[in-house]
Subunit: 350 residues, 2 copies
DNA sequence: TTGTAAGCGTTATCAA
DNA sequence: TTGATAACGCTTACAA
């Protein structure tokens, strides 16, 4: 009776693996139990929640576990509990550095709280994004959605399955964390106005982008307040290339300053303008959005409204983990934006 | 008999979860079996490997699965098989844009082959990195290590557990994918020599960095070949800031051109030099390494030896997945580097 | 405080 | 070709 294996009539499913384990791979709670002379369930108790077991056996078990270099098998644990200790993060586009900071933020705080981060790109359309979301739901305890293209109802459908936190967008009924554009934009517009600009343009991002809409609203409001006129231009895509393409519209519009939906657009626009012989900021001021990596590499360095994306990522992870830990949480968390005044904006010389 | 739950003497472990499932959450092969009027094991066969089941029942089962919106439970599957359909990627530093391309590459090809990518940062020292690696091993089928600080033996120890592929470094006995610096560097040095440079410096990265060593060797070889003298300078850290700090050493060395271990160093160096009044490339040429995102944002845009990092990531994932699919694979795959000639290098004017 | 045993969803062995 | 069933490693209700 001491060794059940010897009289086991059926060959274990993967004898090969077993052999390996006996050699070096990870031990199970059964191994620990045998070594400590207790029952496996006691081992389980000792190793999961503290204090459910006498101090003596606790030590016995911990020692055995250490000696055997025990590591829980997350899959075996997930099966009965349903908890995976994993959170998912879906970003719209790996190609966009905006998401780098978000990923980093989420990863860091996830790891801190002993959660694994799994990453997916939603590419393409809102529908494939929804599919990706559903698929991911199978493996994670909760999900962070960064700038999803899905519509609100789809997001709520996802949120009905498991906890979801949305970044860069507000969806009622779902916890969200968004940069509060107000402060940063008014600082930007005030700065522009103070430098004598009377007419500015906002270059929008994708039309479906919730964030782009908010930024445009913010620009309008701030302009009104500062008595400068604002007009909206459209970009084909929110990239450096899109920025280059919109240069002629900017020129044609006759504005002396432009805010763009994001830094990539701003950089493309600036370079195209410079290539055409214009001097930034002497002839035109350019202000980007986000303060992505590399925004200060340009000459002049880009003035931009900083979105604390890393903070968003980490705030989102924190909220998600809090909900998973049993907290109730709804509504929107706002992180402050601020103007980062660098060289691409300033007084008109002419 | 129609509802087993009512007469179940023992309350299921997570009755709450069960209820949810009955409402909407995912069905199991038992549900499908019941619906299709077959045994669960038949469902398993039908759904895993094709052709092990009669066409008729196959269809029956597939229809039922579709109707129930069945999704395998990866955890349940992982338990008996040991296969998780997950690969791990450990990067040294989230803060370094170099890794984003690698992540993107690995992610993309992983997803393509239906594998999930889990991400970890190894932060700090080689020892925590080893720990992270071991921990990760529990959850993944294989591991990609990007520029690890671990020593070769540790990497081999990891590789003994499960398939490992290393990026940006060569470890004998472990499949590696590395940029072949030779071509890119000789192009760079030739270009510099053709522009009349006689004495150039290489600004090294972290001393333990395998890659930095190879690059220095490459520079030496290429310089010898082109009859220009090469000297090596050290940086405190491989960042923009590190680049700024090394500026005075560069100045003191009297070289007219410098290659740096990476683009970040080059950018920092260039800005510091420019801030001190030097004109790039008229007074000094600067060549970076990697061609990271943003390398072309500078003025002048950075000349750099491009490492196809995305390709490395995707090649590593491909190799790993091939090994997991049963292929034998060792040795090193090299991806070609090339000079990207932009504005920061050129002829000396003086 | 500890042991017993059922159950999580899947795969794989064996028998039919 | 299909059905019955043990096994994967862990958690937890219940009994002791």
């Amino acid at each position: 009776m001491s060794d059940a294996n010897t009289k086991d009539p059926v060959v274990p499913i993967n004898a090969a693996k077993k052999q390996v384990r006996d050699g070096k791979s990870s031990a199970t709670i059964y191994d620990i139990a045998k070594m400590a002379g207790v029952n496996p369930s006691t081992v389980s108790r000792a190793l999961s929640k503290p204090g459910r077991v006498s101090a003596k056996t606790q030590k016995l078990i911990e020692d055995a576990a250490a000696e055997l270099r025990y590591q829980v098998n997350p899959f075996a644990r997930a099966l009965p509990t349903g908890r995976t200790n994993t959170i998912g993060l879906i970003v719209a586009d790996f190609t966009n550095p905006t998401f780098f900071d978000i990923i980093r933020g989420a990863q860091t705080t996830g790891t801190l709280r002993d959660y694994t981060l799994v990453l997916a790109e939603s590419a393409e359309s809102g529908s494939t994004e929804l599919t990706a979301g559903h698929r991911m739901m199978a493996t994670v305890d909760g999900l962070i959605l960064a700038s999803p293209r899905m519509d609100d109802d789809d997001i709520r459908a996802l949120a009905a399955e498991k906890p979801v936190v949305v970044i860069n967008r507000e969806v009622t009924g779902v916890p969200c964390v968004i940069p509060d554009v107000h402060k940063g934009i008014s600082e930007a517009v005030r700065s522009l106005a103070a430098n004598g600009h009377k007419k500015i343009a906002y270059v929008g991002g994708p039309v479906q982008s919730w964030m782009s809409g908010r930024r445009w609203e913010g620009v309008q409001a701030a302009c009104e307040w500062s008595h400068v006129s604002a007009l909206r231009l459209e970009s084909a895509k929110p990239t450096v290339d899109g920025g280059r393409q919109v240069a002629r519209d900017v020129l044609a519009s006759g504005v002396t300053a432009v805010l763009t939906y994001n830094d990539l657009l701003a950089i493309g626009l600036m370079r195209e303008l410079q290539a055409g012989g214009m001097v930034v900021p002497d002839q035109i001021s350019i202000v980007g959005f986000d303060d992505i990596f590399g925004a200060d590499f340009t000459t002049p360095p880009l003035t931009t409204v900083r979105s604390p994306l890393g903070e968003c990522g980490s705030a989102a992870a924190t909220r998600l983990l809090d909900v998973l830990a049993g907290g109730e949480d709804e509504g929107t968390v706002r992180v402050e934006t601020e103007l980062v005044l660098r060289g691409s904006s300033g007084r008109l010389l002419s």
